[in-house]
Amino acid sequence: MSASRANRIQLILVMALLVVLHFYLRPRLWSARVSPDFLLMGLVFFAMRAGPGAGALAGFAVGIVNDALTPAAFGAGALAHTVVGYLAAWGRAVFFADNLLVNAAFVAVALWVRDVILLLASGTAQGRLLVELTLNSPLQAISTAVFALLVLAAFREWFAIRLDV
């Protein structure tokens, strides 16, 4: 088996683990609005290692999953995650993306940007928008970044790849 193919399989395994954590571990943690979003974490990890197109496509898929589970404004999740996936893939060219803390910070910023787009696209009232963006979203961004650090530390070798090279 070639090294590239082995790396891809390792990345797929980590993504599968994140999906299981999202649906099985997350509900056992704190309130849903501040518990880590493992799907978004997986999206950012993937997008930073793949190209912007693949990142946007992955974001669209994650967004559709979110919309199917919470169809308050179907399409808003897809829009937000598509933009986040695309920007995360471009972001790794601008920043030093192999640093653990930078990766975690990327995840935190991506979650906050996702919430901004999602709330605006779903027509949220101004008062609620402020509460979400100044209280709940930052808390969730921190919790997601902390778990992202743990995942990256545990699978550091597996994440040292670039899918598009």
Partner: protein, 313 residues
Amino acid sequence: MASASERSYTRRDTVMFLACLGLSLVALFSPSKWGQDIADALRGTVLAPLVWLQARAEEGRTSRARLQAITLQRDSAAFLAQGIPSLAVENDRLRRLLTLSRRISTPYVAAEVLHQPIPTDPRSLLLDVGRSDLVSEFDPVVAPEGLIGMVASAVDHSSTVMTWAHPEFRVSAYAVGGTASGVVAPSFSTLSGEGALEFRGVPYRDSVPAGTLVLSSGIGGVYPRGIPVGTVTGVVREQAGWERVYRLLPAASPAATAHVLVLVSPPGTSLDRAFPSDSAVRATERDSIAHVRRADSLEAAKARGAGSKDTTR
């Protein structure tokens, strides 16, 4: 200088991004029924194992608390079981004395709320029960504190709920102890945010004091009569000579609710007795007292009538 392959790679990325963006916008601005159908299809097929996984996780999280509650209930039930026959007789006698009907036992399905970690979660909740549990569209969903919303769509093993925080939510309601009735809708004023409700269409002449409980009226056929919707906290706005709009503190919070009941009974059932509250009980007492007074006055009138007949005779 970028090579031809790099340029085509960038162009391909841009095309993919624009395609995904376009599809997202189409989904966002398409009729909500289409989105609901796609969401149902996904939840019923590829996402079914993930929903099942989350439902097991929710059960696992709450199982310890449930076991403690069940143990306490069992102990209490064992203690109370000794006096049940005499209590039942006494209860019946007291109810007859107070002219109260029996407490309604409405068919319901208990459900876990599968919260999602996105900000729009409180508007639309995912439940771990579906058509296989006899849940269907338009079934009212309640928490112990009051109304949560109604089932918007249901597939085999899951369903989504349109909560009172959803912009399209409406329920006809009335204020306990008065004649004011109107329609309750989510509030989107800057001051209240999404965490409040509005009691609209109340006639200007009907003043509703702060602290008054507002219940569903049963008009419209979706929500049964008697479910607590909220408590009046003040006036939002008024149109002189026409109507007042009151701000309500919602009775139940969708974001904080872990368990709900889906009422599967046919519409038209009254739930007044299923949600005893201080103000509701006071209103019932007032009604009963008024009923007794009316009966007494009728008796007195009859007696006077009989007396006058006797006098005439």
